[in-house]
Amino acid sequence: MSDFDPGRRRFLGHLGLAGLGALGASSFLSACASSASGPTTGNGSGAVTIQSNLSSPQAKAAMEKLIANFNAQGKGTASLNTIASETFRTQLPTYLTSANPPDLYTWYAGSVANDYASRNLLLDVSDVWKSLGDYPQSLRTLSTDASGKQIFVPMNNYWWGFFYRKSNFAKWGVQEPKTWTEFLALCETLKGKGVPPIGIGLGDTPWVASAWFDYLNIRINGAPFHRELLAGKQRFDDPKVKAVFTRWREALPYFDPKGKAYPFQEATTALLAGKTGMFLIGTFFADAAPKDALGDLDFFRFPIIDPAVPLAEEAPTDGFFASAKTANPTGTRALLTYLSGVEAQEAYVKASSGIVLPANPKAKASDSPLVVKGKAMLDEAKELTQFFNRDSSDALQPTADTALTKFIDKPDQIDAILREWQTSAEKVFKG
């Protein structure tokens, strides 16, 4: 919040600093001063500020409701600050390193949070975790940094899968595939019917291709190898990585050729209009679907390639971390405790239209068949991964975008592409 102090000394300071004494402009300025001053924060008992990137109307409304509920409880006050998600992404390091940072932030669990924690920017929230005894171990591990303390509180997660329209699959007379062979057979059938089998949207949103890489890698080489690779402990020009692309090439002829031109939102439109057969995407895509199409949506798990590899699924986890420099650690922890509670999590799921699963195991998810199926799929998985950028860093993501887009264009140059990927990844890891 604004740290404007309406005291006289401060006011003169502002005048002097801005060099605004001239031209009798002070009348303008005093008009500005009164409006630029927001609620004052920063002292130990002040409101906790939450910097939120949940800017879509439904999610924003859901967060506003949660904060209103918290304030009504009288255990402290909080104020919500919603920032456009793209702005938030670029400004987050500035927020965290500023002298008077906001207290709490929405962001991702995993290596992104751990990275900030290793620079001592995040508040130790182990106290909050004491009341989260019934959270699954996987979420606890995910929220723990290298030094063993918890620095993240998960709010919810979602899943990725091959989404399709039930009515279209019925019309084409096809079934959900379980294995890679069945999957390729399904693609062949759809292609025979003149429908591009696999939809994708890489224009403006090239990161969508990383889902294919992640999934093929965790199906072929397993989640531990995948994590090591993204942490820089394995090499991208390893033969095991090449095996991923060998499989991918088998499916490549079935990709929608138009998918390179438009973003995933339009790929969603194409899927719903029956112009593509299925689409590997996260549940957030449903926000781009008209309400009447939602009931017709279904999905299947990314097909099994090697049954010997322990089953892993992508389940990006969203939640909160707090600034180490917060002036009000008690209030921040109180708010985190509230947000991780059953009541808040159920209220969020209900108010946001997105298909998300609450992190608190006692909180009830929406009971739509789609959500029940998604939850069952994640519960069955032995391991959960986040997503390419969340398991590595936002800096490594562009290297993947370049490599994967190039591969989709020129699959026979894979050796050169992987060597190049390794070189650019090394630059990122060296920082």
């Binding site: 919040m1 604004s2 740290d3 404007f4 401060r10 300071g13 502002h14 600093l17 801005a18 060099g19 605004l20 001239a22 031209l23 402009a25 303008f28 300025l29 008009a31 500005c32 001063a33 409006s35 630029a36 001053s37 927001g38 910097q51 990137n53 949940l54 800017s55 879509s56 109307p57 999610a59 409304a61 600050n81 919603t82 920032i83 456009a84 998600s85 793209e86 702005t87 400004q91 500035t94 927020y95 500023s98 002298a99 008077n100 906001p102 939102q265 339009e266 969603t268 439109t269 719903l272 209009a273 996260g282 957030f284 895509f285 926000d287 781009a288 679907a289 008209p290 309400k291 009447d292």
Partner: protein, 273 residues
Amino acid sequence: MNKLRTGAFHTGMILLSLLWLGPVIWVVVMSTRSFDDIAAHGVGSLPRSFTLDTYRQAWTDGGELRALINSMLVTVPSVALSLGLAAVAAFALSRFRIPGRRTILLLMLAGNLLPPQILLIPVAKFSELTGLYDTLWALIAVQVGFGLGFYTFVLHGFMRDLPGEIQEAATIDGAGVGQIFTRVMLPLTRPALAALGALSFTWIFNDLLWAITVLRTDDNMPVTPALLGLQGQFVSSWNVIAAGTVIAAVPTVAVFLRFQRHFVSGLALGAVK
């Protein structure tokens, strides 16, 4: 032959203006479509629905009113201050033999040639050091600072060409420097000031970069970042964003229409020397 030429001219001009107006019309049409229509048929298709609820959503849910007020609170003082300071500077540099005046002018202009992107982090850190971070003051200071060089340059060119005799006559009549500036130079510079005023209003009003650099509270954000804030993390309601854009364009269009006359004459006067 002549008829043919006129005909070709008109056809060409109509096509050109359509090309120009196309995107604007597209945005206006999009702002009246429903979300389900866009989701089902894509942003580029012909409209199959009509609603004005998008404007209500942009205005209330998107917080455009608050954002427009913030924009005006930044833009009006910034324009007044930077033009005022630039007029004083241009007056001094063009009408008096100040040592090194050429260097000063070139230095001010050179500052404008720096891409603003390389100054983002210094500006953010500096505004934090001075305690102005996340206040509209910071934004005003930045806008004034960055505009000053160019405005001074233009006004300098304009004032230099005003006949020296006017100044001499005023001096003989007993006017001091201050009086010459306020009662002789400023009225004569009015066309240039009006043109620059319209230009700088548009620039400052439409600025996004500095706003998101020095502000972080959504209640303080001017209209451009507020429009950006209508975008969701993954999915955006393009119809609401289009409606918000139409609303946000109103003030600049109004200012431009008001100053249009000065704008054309002012620019011509400043340019031809």
